[in-house]
Amino acid sequence: MAEARSGGSGPPQARAGGSEPPRAIICAGCALLCDDAAIVDADGAPALTPPCPLGTAWLAERAALTSKPAATVDGAPASVSAALARAAQLLREARRPLLCGFAQASVEDVRAALVLAERLRALLLLEVQRGPWPGTAAEALRGYASATLGEVRDRSQLIVIWREDPERTHPRLLERLGIGGPPPRLAPGRTLVVVDDRDTATAARAQLHLELPRERDLEALAILGLLARGRTPSASELVEPLRELHARVEAAGHVAFVHGAELTGGAGGQRRALALYELVRALARRLHAVTLALPISAGERGAREVLAWQTGYGTSVDFATGHPEPVLATRASAAGESADVVLAVEQADAYAAADAALIALSSVPPATDAAVWIRTAALGVQAAGTAHRLDGVPLTLRAPMGGDAASTAALLARLTEEAVA
């Protein structure tokens, strides 16, 4: 197992005068994992170049972590050893342990978490499973079509961003998809369409902004699906604006639908996801249609991949019987409610299981009171490790800054030894 080590090329970036040369970094501020970034000094604080508010905030927060205690037990500063011992005791005594989070976890961290989960016979929920993430279940029902960033950048003549605002959530996505830049390398032109009833920063960049109420997403996708199959939809005031969108789609040889939890999460999300996949499948008979999902956090995609290859399921799993059993997306929240001890791995906002003791392993202090918190080396800042970009491409993040904390994977390994020896 890879040991993600804290370490790096020097002390945190806090020099006056911008005298230190930029240090390369792969930014884990969101799931885009921009790997062309560098740390620069911005008036004594670390910042990223090319500029990104999310990335800079992510970096700045983690660069300042060395001033925090190494660990806390019941809110009071403690040694890492004492915190591990207390955490191990809680887990040993747990009736129904739950592991969750992984928002900022590396592949190595998730692998270590799975060893522990298996030994504890725990429930393991992915971060997005706090609310239903039915997109996963929809994939397993019919499949999907997707592509890496470069395919969309270089071939998509039409990019449809459906109810997401990447200018806010993934600030460099539009740039990296070539929007606002030169024409695609392998296509004659590129048009951005945004489907959203909000006047978002992303919508302001679009050539066409379809103002569609959220509650009509399913209906709209169904209408587009009918049009894609050459059928006539029932009368609706949505039909005409969607015909225009459909015409643009048909005229484009290559189209990409960009989507995220705003469309495929929450109540009814699975049906919307299915409707999107059916639309893409219908379009794929005549043109090249793909989707690009936008998970929010840097660890999300990698966590799903590790779960899938080690357990066979890319969803939350329950080890209660000794072997992994999938937890249905719509039941994940309910399943978590029965937990009496929650181990939140690299998740800043803790899972709110009522009456459960919280153990947090994270570089950033937990948002709620924790029985135990152990500060970890932040992935991509003080700890190296592998993460998967939102399109599945794996990258090795470096540790450009020094630090005194251990990696999450190393701490999980120690916790496993103590809790289930």
Binding site: E118, A140, G150, R176, G312, E325, T396
Partner: protein, 551 residues
Amino acid sequence: MSEIRISGGRVYDPANGIDGEVRDVCLRDGRVVADVGPTARRIDARGMVVMPGGVDIHSHIAGPAVNAARRLSPERRTAEPPRPSALLRSGSGGIVPSTFATGYRYALLGYTTVVEAAAPPLAARHVLAELRDTPLIDKAFLILMGNNQVLFELIRRAGGRTSPQLHDAIAWWLASTGGYGVKLVNPGGVECFKQRNGNVRALDDQLDGYAITPRQILEAIAGAVDQLGLPHPVHIHAHNLGVAGNADVTLETMRTLTGRRAHFAHIQFHSYGGEPGGPLRSRAAELAEFLNGHEEITADVGQVMFGEAVAMTADAPVAAMLRELGADKWLSHDTEVETGCGIVPYAYRRSSYVHALQWAIGLELFLLCRNPWQLMLSTDHPNGASFLSYPKLIRLLMDRSYREAEAARANQRAIGRSALRDGLEREYTLGEIAIITRAAPARRLGLVDKGHLGAGADADVTIYDDLADREAMFALPRYVIKGGKVLVQDGELRAVEDGVLLSARAPFDERIGEVLESLWGERYTVSFNNYPVGDAALREPARVIEATGGG
């Protein structure tokens, strides 16, 4: 010092000319040796058959496509889940098992080396991470290069030929990923599909935007692999997989590469007669005859077995074709610059004309190809069937009456259009089975320490009860020894270890980096410096096989 004497078994070691002779096999410290001392552990193999550990030359066990297939069919994995123990990790089974289960099941089947046959270089980290979590077996992977836009440009610049820059680029890619060999899947065709659902139909089709042809891609890259002296020749998934009449392009491809080393993947799927859009016919006899006359060319069969399967291929047009035939689930993923992927969960039914003919064509190839060193056993797992079907396939090859009984249960119109109609008498011997399941794959992979039991070989040994029911025999080896350690005894795993990554390395001019970097930025969305996999934890433990520098 660890010593084992396997005594009294009938040894099949075709690479060393041993065909059922009763003799001892001695192992010391992970290697086969001539003799061991009196204190060596003794395995009484009287009444048993002793072979080198199995070598699977073409399988799909790790990487983004395999993992997507796992997620695509959760309902297919709930039966007989692997149970964890002090020794074993948990997981799930089905047609595409989880990684730990994959390693355990291959080992329990007597295999000690497996090749992942199609890895996108951009996802090498992912492939390596899954292989690291696939225990017991030694592993290698082939990197997909047949639709690589950077290589297209190098081939174009060289006037459609191979070149020193192309050699260096391929060597760079192997070094950067930890790969073992070069795989070409529908060269040029996947690029056409990603553009606008197109495909290649003939070797001299011009690829839009690249000014090269599939034939040039084949010749240039095959030539480069030969010039580099890589241990394994170029590994080719030919054009028009699954399409009626595709035997034409398969034979044309073979003729194009005549005189060069080449390995053709899952040749069953490429041996079809008939007209595109029309009923399938068999042209297995022609393909077998071509192989019979060209010993520089080898193939693995890609046998279809009735039951569940998953079409999982970098040849995305194939999956799109299955989708249009009414597949319930379909997954497609385009990887920038390099390749594509299509996945369709599938099932082969003996009542189906097409499926029964595919089944028959695979058997025809096995039975009509004279030289077992040229035609290796595979089901292109999981495309034709799970690797767990190998014992049944072996029985079909060894037992004519069983084969005929199975043929009688299949669609008779299909059987009537195959050579099985007249009954093919040939029955594989144990020696021939040893060739097609270990000796020939190892030799073709250039793994000089595997696939045989001569002095110095890796101590990878599988011992079977000599049962009349050959399916039962090969399904449950009595012992599986790897690196001199007994991993399996009496059908149970007794030890678990990691296995080794097998990588190939060829020297290259470091200045190729400047050339590649100049072509990089406008194509990839990953920085050039972040692309190579340098993580020791992913690439170790490894055995590096050096290229010979000229073929």
